[in-house]
Subunit: 407 residues, 4 copies
């Protein structure tokens, strides 16, 4: 009645806590294990290999447990080829479809392992062609076409969990808990150092700013980072864009004077007047080209050719004509700009931060800055495994970051 | 060089703090005032009238100040008719357009004051027809058509600020600060009492639940409130809907067992499997009609004919086919269901809460329940002037509320 | 059966919202009022006077209402002399004792109004001597001696509520809501400006730092402010003091390297070793004098003769020998250092912030800096009416403040 | 130049993550390791043993690393007897003193391992007598007398880290992250179940309530738990005690009517009048015995002989005569009541929660209830390793808990 399977896992599985996590999951599931073989590197530079025989109460429990172990890189020793089924209709997956992780993934087709293109979480895994030309892609559910060959089950699929960065790695300081009580100037310096390293390595920097960037007076600092070439792509929403333009055209942000900190007279509708003005221009780009918009983050983006994706939200006023009001179209637009992104800087933006976290591969470094610890914890729990939450004031953070990067 | 104007304001302007606020704004603006006439009711049941002569440094300062005073009901004694200009293009308003408040508003057309239909904040004010048949409406910017007659400036427009509820009013307890340290069972009892009163008066109840309603185990309580007829319309998003269905089909919420509180094995993709299932059905309604979905909030809504508007968001997985992925279409769909809404119950839903706050007239009572004080403060600062923020656990709140309303 | 009284209130009672608040309280109490006389200044520079006849259901309701109106400066027109009763025992007040506010207060003794020495909230009001030599003091309950003449009831007592600062006042920007979404560099500049003004006017600056000042790396910035003469007195606790010394002696704060941001090896007991070392010295002062402690906030305080009061708490390790472990003695020690304090800077310190808020007169400007909005709201709701809550990161705040004040 | 040592660790070190943590610390410290011997239980019920040879850059690095490994149960294979030095003066420890953990600890005296009495964190370890009569105690620094034999270094000391509870254990649900989004009724049921189990096993229950228990209207629920015998000892402060008595004597809590939720007239000084009344009685106990105090948590404690320790704080008004104003005396009083405590229920009490966390052995289960996630995270990071943070409303939590325990 009981069901058994032998799984194998390789890498720095001991000090990266991967092996411990796997044994933990087995025991939590009420199953039993026998360590068949544990080849521990004798020193910490050697990778280790473990083979573990697992016995569960029945085949169903075993299958569930294997699904839990899968994203930790523990895969059955004996696996066949990938199994696929055709999608029955557009946007509808076959039963038992494999849901992707954001980790590097390989699939076995005709006995050969091939790498999956740009991994993305919570997608279907679609295989094109057969034999040597076979190609595997992570495809969001809504873009799966009827008849697409969709992976089902776990057979023939393996992932490589990220190992904890080590020693000289500048990521070491990222291992500690999210807390407001950290040396802040130091954190900013480390982030600056990581951005320099990423850019030096040819990586692109994605910025995801929320409206508080403008409200806290940090708009000019972010604009400077764009102007000086630090930022390669921007994802945001209507609110940030409107306040960025409002602060340049009218000197206010939600009607509060950016220069005085007090409510500007007659200004409660300023954001509406700005939206109306951009609607008249036709687009932000047109406003810049016509010389009507002369500063701010979006202005600098237009001038430097930095792509901006503005995704809509049900709370939007207006919105600006540049906003993609269809949220699925907005997601697809963001996907088109992810190639080469090595670092994401999430700046006081809850909604777009979650959206971005869903789209990024686990290998992208993500820095989430927010003054609310609960928000930071939520964001760093998702998406990238290389996420650092920084509980601080985004206004003072960007001021200090631009001072360090630009001087 | 200086510019002057005499304004008048009526009502319970002294104890409702309206007069004080007006004088405050005048002085803050650096202008000077002379109280020409103050007819204070001798006792607090009598309305008062004040006429105030205002002198500002110049005409521009005066205009800005009058715009600030406008939403507080202080209007120039001598006002002409409403001034309108045609919209130059679809979705583009004339310069100087009047931005609406969410207060009861009248406009003067041909010497007669007419009431504006269903006020909504941050809209254009459009006048149809002329003369006796004239009608005035608040129209969202994107729905203004080329040639529509749009109000500009403040001439011929007056609003009636809400007066603070008094004495025996059950709203009295709503005046205090947002804080977690309130007698909670008592707050729930008062909210229950207000819901009973609103329903007894023929008002409709709008519920705006977020995903935490399901995560905290309160889904069945909200479902019961729908089943028993307390809820008349629901606005929410993909996340709440998916978790509501997931908890009914699979007994989990984001993969966490609703009955055990622990991660269910192999369940991290449960929400995706649920979305896929509904996509196969075609819609939630179809799932209910086919007998595939047998419980939960949405099930009860379908069964009782309670309309549900699900607005999309860039962070959505899937989404469900029932979600309006175009956010402007989602806003318009919500507008179509606002008639007769007397009370809104916002349940741990930040995004949709702000959206709803933007749409509601000031006269709707809003109860915002969230465990995060910053969220509650933000929500109650907007929209309705009759908003009560309740800093508490939505799970225990709904459990207690359904106990009080249903028993 | 109903009971009546005529009260009078003077000052800028209209635009300071004082009159509105008074009418509000009357109506909330279910009483009725008649405005007997309202002499409104015709322009906003003139003070106003109001006489209001109040009628309540019975004498008891009237007495309760008059007690509510008292701190708003509305006092019966006809009042006799102050009524006193002797304290029956040390630390035990007579029934009906008058509980002080933190506002400027006068009492009528033998027909003459005399000013109360240094007002403090929630104290007894004790009168010494009689006749022309009479003196009135706010005395904390525990320091009232048997036989002290203690004020009972409201007769012969009047307070002067603070009027809202106006126009050119740098306090104008303080009127807005507590929120994280403010222009931060601007807020820091305004605070710097206020500190300069207070010091220029001969006022003393009280700093109340919490441990997060050290954890966030801002210790050196606060130390610099002390060294340059900006800080005149420091109130804090064992935690801040220990971490300040630990960061100087060992380069860590709670075992986290202040220079690296990572856990220093073998360092979890560093704070205990530091406490033990200071116990061996005998006091912090001795450590400085012996050359063993060479930096940090406390070092600078000793060097410049800035008094430091460290109050104990039940969570203290050790504590340092400098800590006043008796909390009542600690309160009394703080009281001895309040003379001339014009500004208090509360830096991420919840416990001591509340303690300080209880002790300060309302006329002291208080700036509360904390990253948690709920804490800031709580602190600014108490004590001083001139309190500004700043929701930000204390580490970056102090770095920016010292840059602005010292350069 | 390099320095080496072989350490050993035993127990369920693999699935409890203990081995992984140890290897992690070694690598983080820049040292190298060789796994000499790893005797993994073949199934998860067997304990494992690991022997690891560690090589660090020098003797100093090695010593620091061994100190880091010590609390994880990794001790040098070859250890001599405990080394002690006399305390040079009262309250001053010898250099290199051993700082205790809150884990079960043994010391080797004359070649025999003896158990340390009641472990407590951050204390000195004092050995009394010699030879067979030797006894070892954790002693707070301030209570060490001159000449006491105090342990220095790590030689002859070993600790037993708690292993993660497993399988059928009701603690399993405690492993997840602190978050507000948990099924709340379920959490309450689990806590109720744990309390029943602890009491059934003869354990004592410690309650640590803060003032918000009264403000949120949960006082009567906690009083009922005391009355029905669930609570064995209470640690709290002046604020909770005053509001508890105020709610019984006057029906208010900080002047807010507990029954109405609105400010009671003339009530801002109610807490002072209550304090004065208790000072007149002489103590809370006297008030109960004289029949003057007839309800509330403290009343029930007096009636049932449940000991209450009230520790002072610098923010206290009054305080009540029952408050221990010396904080070190308060800590010592709490220590005297810890014997047999198996569960601690911390209820919206930040200050006393940290104090209690410092005093408790790691084996005590701690449930921290607070509405602020940052507070809960902070509390559960300290003290007991068996701590569960519950982000919820303490008012509704206690109402539900008393319903489940008492009905």
């Amino acid at each position: 009645m009981t069901a058994s399977e032998t799984v194998e896992v390789r890498g720095h599985i001991v000090d990266s806590l991967i092996l411990a996590k796997i044994l933990d999951l087995i025991v939590d599931a009420g199953a039993d294990y026998r360590m068949i073989d544990l080849d521990l590197g004798t020193s910490h530079v050697d990778p280790s290999t473990a083979r573990i025989s697992i016995t569960a109460a029945d085949a169903s429990d075993l299958a569930a447990l294997l699904a839990e172990l899968h994203p930790h890189g523990a895969h059955p020793v004996e696996t066949g080829d990938l199994v696929v089924k055709p999608a029955e209709a557009g946007g509808v997956l076959p039963d038992g479809f494999y849901a992707t992780t954001n980790l590097p993934t390989e699939v076995r087709v005709d006995g050969h392992w091939i790498e999956v293109d740009r991994p993305e979480m919570d997608c279907a895994l679609v295989v094109d062609d057969d034999g040597p030309a076979a190609r595997a892609r992570a495809v969001p559910m809504h873009r799966v076409a009827a008849g697409d060959q969709v992976a089902v089950g776990l057979a023939g699929i393996r992932v490589r969990p990220l190992e904890k960065p080590r020693g000289a790695s500048p990521f070491e300081f990222m291992t500690s808990e999210v807390s407001a009580e950290k040396p802040k100037a130091l954190l900013v310096a480390r982030v600056a150092e990581r951005l320099r390293a990423a850019k030096a390595g040819g990586g692109r920097l994605l910025a995801v700013p929320g409206p508080a960037v403008v409200h806290t007076g940090a708009g000019p600092h972010l604009a400077a980072l764009v102007r000086e070439g630090w930022v390669d792509v921007v994802f945001s929403g209507n609110g940030f864009a409107v306040h960025d333009i409002e602060s340049c055209l009218l000197g206010t942000s939600l009607g509060i004077s950016v220069g005085e900190g007090t409510a500007a007279e007659g200004s409660h509708a300023n954001h509406l007047r700005v939206i109306n003005q951009v609607r008249r221009w036709g687009s932000v780009r047109r406003g810049v080209e016509d010389g009507a918009l002369c500063g701010g983050v979006l202005y600098e983006c237009v001038r430097r050719g930095v792509p901006v994706v503005l995704g809509g939200s049900v709370r939007d006023d207006g919105p600006l004509p540049d906003v993609l009001t269809d949220v699925v179209a907005a997601q697809d637009a963001m996907r088109r700009h992810l190639d080469g992104v090595a670092v994401a800087l999430v700046l006081a933006s809850t909604l777009h931060a979650v959206a971005v976290g869903n789209l990024l591969p686990a290998s992208v470094e993500v820095y989430c800055v927010d003054i609310n610890q609960a928000v930071v914890t939520k964001l760093t729990d998702r998406g990238s495994q290389q996420a650092l939450g920084i509980v601080t004031d985004v206004g003072l953070f960007l001021s200090e970051l631009s001072r360090q990067l630009i001087g």
